[in-house]
């Protein structure tokens, strides 16, 4: 019995002094390592959890206090969990959401037509949720999140585990939404999700915002390295290539004729490399790697990069978040949070965030004798 009630988790700060405001129509990429506090921020903004300190406002509403009013203006997708009714066909789940959000029949039909067009939803409508593949499920879940045409959309890992074709489809759709003026907050591990959708990026680590500024700037400043992988048809040595490109590093690949040329894109371009190589040898195959945003984040995390808001941010088109109240008149933000959240949450544990002292007591740890006894 003691076992049943034992306190297990300790309090950790999942989000600490996040200070963030998002303008209407803005598309924001919210990235950071696992357990950095991304999901917790979204839960704060959706009203799922209440901040232990600070203030959260979305379109003038305090989410956790007025959850249902907030619900009407937001759409949420947690990529790793479905909101579809498990045993029902997709059509029924959507119809239930239509009723809950009081969507008129004409609006509903228009949305379905639209989802059919961009997500090929029509084919999924008669399928029961548990028989959907991951990609199909994600498409249906996107439809659920956007059915009521929310002003603000939170997407937590909307492309996780999807194959390329579905990912592209989802990204196209995000760009469309963006073009229509929907406010988007997107967390992801995949830089390609952000490309063309978000122009602002916020990097969070250890519950704190460590960078807030333009996506182009962060890439310019911290993700300048490019790698060109080559398969050459003419015998040539790494030294020959290195002599041709003094500003680049050349490493031979495993197979004969394979080379990787790494360079800073401000010093050299991929085009110049290819032209140069073509003069020396026959190029059979080419692949160009851009660093993923998580590489940047990881390097920040490992202390290899020290991000400070530099001139690029100050001059950039996107105001640094600074203080929402001073930078913008109160109430004009789509969403703003100056909040902290401390809890025995799994996020915090996954992050391995140190500094767990205060025991609040949380979930016990019993497992099911459940069905056995029911």
């Amino acid at each position: 019995m003691k076992h049943l009630l034992r306190r297990r988790f300790t309090t950790m700060t999942a989000v600490d002094a996040i200070d963030l405001s998002i303008e209407p129509g803005e598309a924001l990429a919210y990235v950071g390592p696992n357990g950095a506090g991304k999901s917790t921020t979204i839960k704060l903004l959706t009203g799922i959890v209440e901040p232990t300190g600070g203030e959260v406002r979305v379109g003038g509403i305090v989410p956790h206090r007025d959850r249902q009013a907030n619900a009407r203006q937001i759409g949420v997708l947690f990529g790793q969990r479905t909101q579809l009714w498990w045993d029902l066909p997709v059509r029924e789940s959507l119809a239930l959401l239509r009723d809950m959000y009081d969507i008129s029949p004409t609006d509903y039909q228009r949305q379905l037509d639209r989802f059919d067009e961009v997500l090929d939803l029509g084919a999924l409508l008669p399928v029961v949720t548990r028989k959907l593949s991951l990609g199909q499920r994600m498409r249906a879940d996107l439809a659920c999140a956007l059915l009521h045409q929310p002003k603000i959309v939170y997407l937590d890992e909307p492309t996780i585990g999807l194959d390329i074709a579905v990912k592209d489809r989802v990204r196209d759709f995000l760009r469309q939404l963006r073009a229509e003026g929907t406010t988007i907050m997107l967390t992801t591990h995949d830089l390609a999700d952000i490309e063309g959708t978000c122009e602002r990026i916020v990097i969070i680590d250890d519950g704190k915002i460590i960078y807030d500024g333009g996506l182009a700037e962060v890439k310019d400043r911290y993700a300048r390295e490019r790698r060109v992988h080559l398969q050459l048809g003419t015998p040539i040595t790494a030294a020959d290539l290195a002599a041709r490109f003094p500003a680049a590093a050349v490493t031979p690949g495993e197979a004969h004729g394979e080379f990787t040329i790494s360079f800073d894109k401000s010093l050299l371009t991929a085009g110049a490399v290819l032209t140069g190589v073509a003069q020396l040898a026959e190029v059979v195959e080419v692949r160009i790697d851009e660093p993923a945003i998580e590489d940047v984040v990881r390097r920040v995390y490992a202390g290899e990069l020290n991000i400070t808001p530099g001139p690029a941010d100050a001059a950039g088109a996107h105001p640094p978040s600074a203080s929402p109240t001073s930078a913008h008149p109160a109430g004009t933000h789509a969403a703003s949070a100056r909040a902290a959240y401390a809890a025995g949450a799994a996020d915090a544990r996954a992050a391995g965030v140190p500094g767990a002292e205060d025991v609040t007591g949380a979930a016990g740890d019993v497992d099911p004798a459940e069905e056995a006894s029911r």
Binding site: M1, K2, L4, V366, D367, A369, E371, A372
Partner: protein, 258 residues
């Protein structure tokens, strides 16, 4: 053999880890024991007897019924049911182990904690519910008790096969447990039932779950050797019936592609 012993050991350990939850579940079952005891106490007050049972005997009958009702139930059949339902069982089939033996080993693994619970509840029951007779013949009773686990396992494993055809395990469990409760004598001693039901119960395996051990405990069985032989016969028969059924059922899933 070694692998099944290991499975039993692992199960015993994991069951132990959730002892708190199980204990709470058992506490719930104790209320059932309490209700039936109260009913019989009201019925048999003042030295009355029904169907040849007086109050102390009836209390002993209920306690044995509680104990046998606990044996082989801690490790639920839903483990197997879920494995069948989500198709995992197809993976088991390609392993060099026998699914039936694995689940029997798991049931054996739960036995230790079951015995602890039975001992605790029995102790408290004897203290609170007052005088009742001890076992008429300890050895015969123990022998009869030993067959409860294999018989219950056979019935459970056999009925769980139905999950190959229906998604709904709960319904199967409820129906099976209901039928077993009546025909095993757990609801009322079989001797009080109408004649036709008694004869049906005599040839079915369920009596071996409750009635046989309880009657042997009370020394009310005219031919305990025969009753134990019937138990043994059912234990073996159910094992092979279940084996046969499982082979047929799993062939079904492999045909359907799992």
């Amino acid at each position: 053999m070694k692998v099944y012993l290991a499975i039993a050991r692992v199960t015993a350990r994991s069951v132990l880890a959730y002892r708190g939850a199980y204990a709470l579940g058992i506490a719930g079952s104790c209320f059932q024991l309490l209700a039936t005891t109260a009913l019989w106490t009201a019925l048999l007050a003042g030295g009355a007897s029904i169907g040849g049972f007086d109050l102390p005997e009836m209390k002993a009958y209920l306690l044995v019924g509680f104990a046998t009702g606990l044996i082989g139930t801690l490790v639920g059949d839903w483990v197997l049911a879920n494995r069948i339902r989500d198709g995992q069982v197809a993976l088991d089939l390609v392993k060099p182990i026998d699914t039936q033996k694995v689940f029997f080993a798991q049931n054996c693994g739960g036995l230790g904690l079951e015995i602890v619970f039975i001992a605790v509840v029995s102790g408290v029951f004897v203290l609170l519910a007052g005088p009742m007779p001890g076992p008429a013949d300890g050895w015969l009773f123990a022998a009869s008790l030993a067959f409860v686990l294999p018989i219950r396992f056979g019935i459970t494993f056999l009925t769980t096969m139905l999950v190959f055809w229906t998604e709904n395990h709960h319904g199967v469990v409820w129906a099976r447990d209901g039928v077993a409760a009546v025909l095993s004598g757990a609801i009322v001693p079989l001797a009080m039932m109408p004649g036709w039901l008694q004869s049906a119960a005599a040839v079915l395996p369920f009596a071996g779950l409750t009635s046989t051990p309880a009657l042997i405990y009370l020394g009310k069985a005219p031919n305990p050797g025969l009753l134990i032989a019937i138990q043994a016969g059912w234990a073996v028969a159910l094992w092979y019936l279940a084996r046969f059924a499982f082979r047929g059922a799993s062939r079904q899933i492999t045909i359907h592609g799992g």
